[in-house]
């Protein structure tokens, strides 16, 4: 855990997708997901086309399909929820293997599964092809308030440090024979959490001192500018634009 959960999703590579400026990729993914969500759920074939589009991107980015599928596991809790919809939804019922299921609920399950999966897959592709730093620069470029970007940047910079402190505290606890087994040990664990908070806060104060000592006056100067050429934009936006075509067809057909 110490080496950085923040980086494990990134898959180093030199594909054309990796090379795209981060803000174009962010825009493309966001637009793609919006289009997917706006697609009527009855247009089943449209979702197959979306999946094919994402498959093409994954191929271009040289992301192995196995990796993509494994990371889709994050969705599992919602699959469970989605599978319940046919049992609870109102309206017309139909018999599936002897169970009276709601037609609307079945469509609901399909809707959540299809759109949720596509959304997760798109995010996974983004995370796998974009470095953390790039994501933050891209977000700032897209107009996210600089303070929010700074906070995110500090969180990512110190996520490892804080997690590592937590790990050391756990080792210290266990070295003294403590093992948390149930509710009655919450007091001890919560005191660790409290100590972790105090350490984090005090580190925040020290970091602030170090920043002020180097001339910080409230804004972090942007050193790396990210820029995108027209070609890069069109390349990145090819994904949501093709998706939009599919979506419009889905509404009209």
């Amino acid at each position: 855990m110490g080496a950085g959960h923040a980086h494990m999703l990134y898959r180093h590579g030199s594909s054309p997708v990796h090379a795209l400026p981060p803000h174009t990729k962010l825009t493309a993914v966001l637009a793609f997901v919006v289009v997917v969500v706006a697609t009527p759920r009855t247009a089943v074939w449209a979702f197959a086309l979306y999946a094919a589009l994402l498959g093409t991107v994954a191929y271009a980015a040289r992301i192995p399909p196995g990796l993509l599928l494994r990371r889709l596991a994050v969705e599992v809790p919602f699959v469970a929820f989605a599978l319940l919809l046919p049992f609870v939804a109102r309206g017309e019922r139909t018999d599936v293997l002897g169970l009276p299921l709601s037609v609307d609920g079945l469509w609901g399950t399909w809707n959540v599964l299809a759109k949720g999966t596509l959304g997760v897959a798109a995010s996974v592709l983004l995370a796998a092809t974009t470095e953390l730093r790039g994501l933050l620069l891209g977000l700032q470029r897209l107009g996210l308030p600089p303070l929010l970007v700074q906070i995110a940047s500090f969180m990512i910079r110190y996520g490892d440090v804080v997690t590592d402190e937590m790990r050391r505290m756990r080792i210290a606890r266990e070295s003294r024979g403590f093992e948390a087994r149930g509710v009655r040990h919450w007091g001890v664990l919560a005191r660790s959490a409290g100590a972790l908070f105090i350490r984090s806060y005090e580190r925040g104060e020290r970091v602030h001192l170090a920043m002020v000592s180097r001339g910080y006056e409230g804004t972090v100067p942007l050193v790396d500018e990210v820029t995108a050429s027209r070609a890069q934009w069109s390349y990145a936006l090819a994904l949501p634009l093709s998706a939009l075509v599919v979506c419009l067809l889905g509404w009209t057909l």
């Binding site: 923040a6 999703l9 966001l30 997901v33 919006v34 969500v37 990371r71 969705e75 599992v76 809790p77 919602f78 469970a80 929820f81 319940l84 049992f87 609870v88 939804a89 109102r90 609307d104 609920g105 469509w107 809707n111 599964l113 949720g116 596509l118 959304g119 997760v120 995370a127 994501l135 308030p145 303070l147 929010l148 906070i151 995110a152 500090f154 969180m155 990512i156 110190y158 804080v162 997690t163 403590f178 948390a180 509710v183 040990h185 919450w186 007091g187 919560a190 005191r191 660790s192 959490a193 409290g194 100590a195 972790l196 908070f197 105090i198 984090s200 806060y201 925040g204 970091v207 409230g218």
Partner: protein, 373 residues
């Protein structure tokens, strides 16, 4: 509770995005006012703490464990504005890097988990701290209540979004009942951990607890005060102590306190009535599912009472609503007492043996599932 894409339709997602953006904008201004130029490093570190704290597992029983969500905790420790920003950043990073929560649902997620949680927790905590005697114990109790209510409040907010923009026609009342019911249970765990953690911080650095700043305000004198030109003597201290300490933050007007109290009462009434309309079997089932399905995510569990409810019909539930309410309130009170006892034990036994089994503490059923809310 990370909502994925496709759960809420596009227009409502967009509206939620606008709400979230507004709330974040207000918080950015507020945090800058609260922390000044320290906002970025401090909020960043607190966000890192929330992120790490979510990985800290609190064992419940029989291999089940829960973890902290941290919204209420962050609010009580660092204040509502910074709290909103911290949780927002955590959600943003989770959505972008871990595909945890859909990108189109980011607005819904931020509104539920960053805004509703922190606002409710803050209102409850501030209100109670003002009403209760000015002791550290009161802050811990308020933290418990705040965290307890913040979780079902977020669940209720989610249900509202689902009622307006849900993509499937499900009986909203039942969804609300099930969601809130299950999340009250989750809230009990969250509340216990939050209260214990706040208590632990209070014991060491009370000045860092935003929710307790009234208790510590006299200690926080002006920074950069000027001692006399001669090497200061003890008289300096006397002069300082005699002089009016700069009130870091002016006390609120009584009207606001009343409003906060009203809000709490409404919330309490709301939660209790949700219980009252829930079937006890649904509640028990939820508890059982939560406890047994150790491997299942919270949503699996959240759904199951729904299923139970939907299949068995409403009549049962309405009949025994009152009983359910009593059980719910009793459960909450029992859990609260348990935490109070635990807190007292933790306080008195400062050493290693802090967590001696107390009947009330072990008896408080607060099963949490291992992953995600």
């Amino acid at each position: 509770m990370h909502v994925p894409d496709g759960f809420i339709d596009a227009p409502v997602s967009a509206a939620a995005g606008a709400v979230a953006a507004g709330a974040v904008a207000v918080s950015l201004r507020g945090a800058r006012r609260e922390l000044g130029e320290r906002a970025a490093p401090l909020a960043g570190l607190v966000a890192a703490f929330v992120f790490a704290a979510q990985m800290l597992n609190f064992p419940v029983a029989a291999g089940t464990s829960g973890h902290l969500l941290g919204g209420a905790l962050a609010t009580i420790l660092v204040g509502p504005y910074t709290g909103v920003l911290c949780v927002t950043v955590v959600l943003l990073v989770q959505g972008l890097l871990f595909a945890d929560g859909g990108l189109t649902a980011l607005g819904v997620n931020i509104t539920n988990m960053a805004v509703v949680t922190t606002v409710v927790a803050y209102a409850v905590c501030r209100g109670l701290v003002r009403v209760l005697p000015r002791t550290r114990r009161s802050v811990t109790v308020s933290a418990f209540a705040a965290a307890l209510l913040s979780v079902p409040a977020a669940a209720a907010a989610f249900t509202c979004f689902y009622a307006v923009g849900g993509t499937t026609d499900v009986p909203v009342g039942q969804v609300l009942t099930a969601m809130v019911g299950v999340h009250v249970l989750i809230g009990v765990g969250e509340a216990a951990i939050t209260a214990l953690t706040v208590g632990a911080v209070l014991a060491v650095r009370p000045d860092l607890v935003y929710g307790a700043r009234d208790l510590t305000a006299p200690l926080r004198l002006c920074v950069g005060g000027e001692p006399a030109d001669a090497p200061p003597s003890p008289t300096l201290d006397l002069a300082r102590a005699g002089g009016a300490p700069t009130p870091a933050l002016t006390p609120r007007s009584p009207r606001k306190v009343l409003l906060a109290g009203l809000a709490i009462s409404l919330l309490l009434a709301g939660v209790v009535s949700f219980y009252a309309s829930a079937a006890p079997d649904g509640l028990e089932k939820a508890a059982a599912d939560e406890g047994i399905e150790a491997g299942a995510g919270e949503h699996g569990a959240a759904g199951s009472p729904l299923a139970d409810y939907g299949v068995r019909g409403i009549t049962d539930g309405r009949l025994s609503g009152g009983l359910a309410g009593v059980i719910g309130v009793g459960l909450t009170v029992a859990a609260g007492t348990g935490v109070l006892c635990t807190v007292r034990i933790v306080r008195t036994v400062r050493g290693r043996r802090a967590g001696e089994p107390s009947p009330a503490a072990t008896g408080s059923p607060a099963p949490r599932t291992p992953r995600d809310v």
